[in-house]
């Protein structure tokens, strides 16, 4: 009786959300994997007019072997690297600059953080114009700007370059999320006790040495969190690409776009398989991090 009183209310409170999660998150993930293991490639099969057959990992093997999907994965990798390096470096620099208390810090903080409030779709519309690939007389956007300041040689086709084009799409993403990374790092800097800095100085460390040996090492958990957050956002990249480019543009294909295109042509099995591959990639990134933080919390107790 007593135990029910103790466990009852929390369980009762948790149950609705647990049921919803079980059905709509984990249940649908299972359904997704189940679909991806069938040959459900046509509208007729999706509605049950034609039978579907279990094909195991056949769809995955076909996808991974196809040039088109490899191209998408390559694009995704390039996008992620540029996006990660860009936001981490810029966010860190900004945080470092703002770390020392200064006048107007609040304003700078808001200015840098603000782009994050804009939706990718809205900023994509503007960046599509800025990243116009015309050069010479018809140039618009950034290429025109380069001409006006005499840096003509910097003109380039931006996202329409077949190999590096996807990196240009990372530019607006960096612009939007560097401020967020800055906020994370700023919190990290502030979390370092003043006593530690003073102790370092007492021991005769120069200002640079204080940063190098006292403060930076303590930022590594923050850096890891930022890496994971930006990394998984990057893997799910879809809206920004859809807004700047178009789903069928070869130069900006990524798996999430493939998933959309497969779905629109009633190819549910391949669409689900692409979704599963994305989930697995994210899991490979996130699960070690969760284990790591979990262990740290346990050992920290």
């Amino acid at each position: 009786m007593k135990t029910i009183k103790r466990w009852g209310p929390p369980v009762l409170l948790l149950t609705p959300s647990m049921i919803l999660m079980a059905v709509f998150v984990y249940g649908l993930i299972v359904a997704n994997f189940a679909t991806s293991a069938t040959d459900n490639h046509t509208a007729a099969q999706a509605t049950g007019v034609q039978p579907t057959v279990f094909v195991g990992i056949g769809n995955y093997l076909d996808l991974l072997a196809s040039d088109a999907f490899q191209h998408s994965l390559k694009n995704l990798l390039l996008y992620t690297v540029v996006f990660l390096v860009g936001t981490m470096v810029i966010g860190f620099m900004w945080a470092w600059l703002l770390e020392r208390p200064m006048r107007g810090e609040g304003i700078f903080r808001s200015v840098y953080l603000f782009p994050m409030a804009v939706s990718f779709i809205a900023s994509g519309v503007v960046w599509r114009w800025l990243l116009n690939s015309n050069e010479g007389e018809q140039a618009l956007g950034l290429n025109r700007l380069f001409q006006m300041v005499g840096l003509d040689f910097l003109q380039n086709p931006w996202w329409n370059n077949i190999t590096w084009g996807i990196a240009a799409i990372a530019l607006p993403a960096i612009w939007q999320l560097s401020g967020y990374v800055m906020a994370l790092f700023l919190a990290g800097f502030r979390g370092v006790p003043v006593e530690l800095r003073e102790a370092g100085r007492m021991d005769g460390a120069s200002e640079w040495q204080v940063y190098r040996h006292v403060i930076f090492p303590q930022l590594s958990p923050v850096a890891l969190s930022a890496l994971i957050i930006i990394g998984h956002m990057s893997l799910k990249a879809f809206d920004l690409i859809m807004s700047i480019s178009k789903p069928s543009n070869y130069q900006t294909k990524v798996p999430a776009v493939d998933m959309y295109v497969f779905k629109s042509s009633f190819d549910y099995a391949n669409s689900a398989a692409v979704g599963a591959i994305l989930l697995i990639i994210v899991a490979v990134l996130v699960i070690p991090y969760l284990i790591y933080t979990n262990r740290k919390e346990v050992s920290g107790r």
Binding site: A43, T47, A68, L131, W159, S245, S248, S264, F266
Partner: protein
């Protein structure tokens, strides 16, 4: 396995829930239509501009012809129809179809037909006398295994070149002289390009596929072009190679920012005089007229050189979904859609032409009159880029291959192979 079944059921419930909430926006949910009521939910992507005016005109005719039914507008805006198609897919999947929905006539219906989601309406063709009112070419293209699954409301032409006469004249080209074939046109394009203007404007992938289809029509001729879609013409043959070479050359005359644009921006380049030619379906005429640009002085139009005598057709049409809550209402709607009165009212507003051949051309604009004449006399061939020629999966594969080719990801031989694989 059982557990998967439970999960699947749960997923189905989820889908049904989203479908209901989606349908609620359109105001025509199962609750209203399913009760044997008088509501007819008409699902379209005609939510703005001349399309909306057309739909309203059609609605007025419907109210007159069938006063005992109430029209419920289930239009979904966004993405040139892709938002509507997404929602429609979900609703059909969940067994909650609208009473009737808009779809491109022709092979794009293949998926719905194979999925058993559409009723055969060929009996209605006989009942409403549509068999004689529509041209035989069109009926042949709409017939699948002896059945017809939709009633076309309007016809557009795809193989039209729009040109700016001022730009042509300043390049020394007579705007009234139409090049005889693609080679002659390429010569003109070279002349224009030498003056520093974009010779041919094009936009993102689908407009490039649109250009490709018109080149195929021009180089192959009507019969061989239709053969591409029923397997009688070999995609790997030399004729197709020649057409693809032409396509490659034409693409070399186009604007470099094409992949970021959609058709209005590409057509606008011709209106503004920054480009000489644009190939686009005849809905482009609305873009010229809206800005007060007059046919003849402000723009000239002619069939893509070499495709004279062919009418690349695409059509919007209405269907009778299996399990429609109000099939009688939907049938009444189809009668209005197919009727002379309905087609004239709708097309006057939308700028397309009636699928019926008995409409009086004098009721329409100058461009429409010329289109009506070609429609009556030319060979009618299906458009690839707009779903008349092939199912969606084929079109997606063709688009992917085309985008890869035009961005430099494949050479012509690979492109041709990929096209053959996409269609085959």
């Amino acid at each position: 396995m059982r557990r998967i079944g439970v999960v699947a059921t749960a997923a189905a419930i989820g889908l049904a829930l989203t479908a209901c909430s989606g349908g609620g926006d359109g105001g025509g949910d199962g609750d209203e239509g399913g009760g044997g009521g008088t509501d007819v939910e008409v699902f379209t992507w005609w939510a703005a501009g001349s399309e909306l005016t057309g739909l309203e005109a059609l609605e007025a005719v419907f109210a007159e012809q069938h006063p005992d039914f109430t029209f419920v507008n289930g239009a979904v805006a966004g993405g040139a129809g892709s938002a509507a198609k997404d929602l429609l897919q979900t609703r059909l999947q969940a067994g909650d179809p609208p009473d009737t929905f808009q779809a491109h006539a022709g092979a794009e219906l293949t998926d719905y037909i194979a999925a058993g989601q559409l009723e055969d309406v060929s009996d209605l063709y006989t009942e409403f006398g549509l068999t004689d009112a529509f041209p035989q070419d069109l009926i042949d293209l709409l017939t699948v295994d002896g059945n017809i699954y939709s009633v076309p409301s309007n016809i557009h032409r795809s193989n039209v070149v729009w040109a700016n006469p001022t730009v042509l004249e300043s390049a020394g080209i007579d705007p009234a002289a139409v090049p005889a074939d693609i080679d002659a046109w390429i010569a003109d394009l070279e002349t224009v390009q030498a003056t520093g203007v974009t010779a041919l404007s094009v936009a993102t992938t689908w407009t490039q596929v649109h250009l490709l289809e018109t080149v195929l029509m021009a180089d192959l001729g009507a019969e061989a072009y239709i053969g591409l879609w029923n397997g009688e013409t070999d995609w790997t043959g030399a004729e197709v190679t020649g057409a693809l070479e032409h396509f490659e050359t034409l693409m070399s005359f186009t604007n470099t920012d094409r992949d970021g644009l959609d058709w209005p921006e590409a057509t606008q380049m011709v209106i503004d005089g920054t480009a000489a030619y644009n190939v686009m379906g005849d809905w482009a005429v609305a873009a010229f007229e809206e800005q007060g640009v007059e046919r003849g002085a402000g723009f000239v139009d002619f069939p893509v050189p070499g495709s004279d005598g062919q009418f690349g057709f695409l059509a919007d049409s209405f269907t009778l979904p299996v399990g429609a809550p109000n099939p009688d209402g939907a049938t009444a709607w189809l009668e209005t859609v197919g009727s002379l009165e309905g087609q004239v009212a709708f097309n006057q507003a939308k700028g397309s032409i009636p699928a019926r051949t008995d409409a009086d051309p004098a009721d329409f604009s100058e461009y429409q009159q010329s289109a009506i004449e070609s429609y009556a006399n030319d060979a009618i061939v299906p458009s690839l880029a707009h779903g008349a020629a092939s199912p969606i999966a084929v079109l997606n594969a063709v688009s992917d291959a085309t985008s890869k080719f035009t961005t430099g990801g494949s050479d012509l031989a690979t492109y041709q192979q990929e096209l053959a694989a996409a269609v085959g």
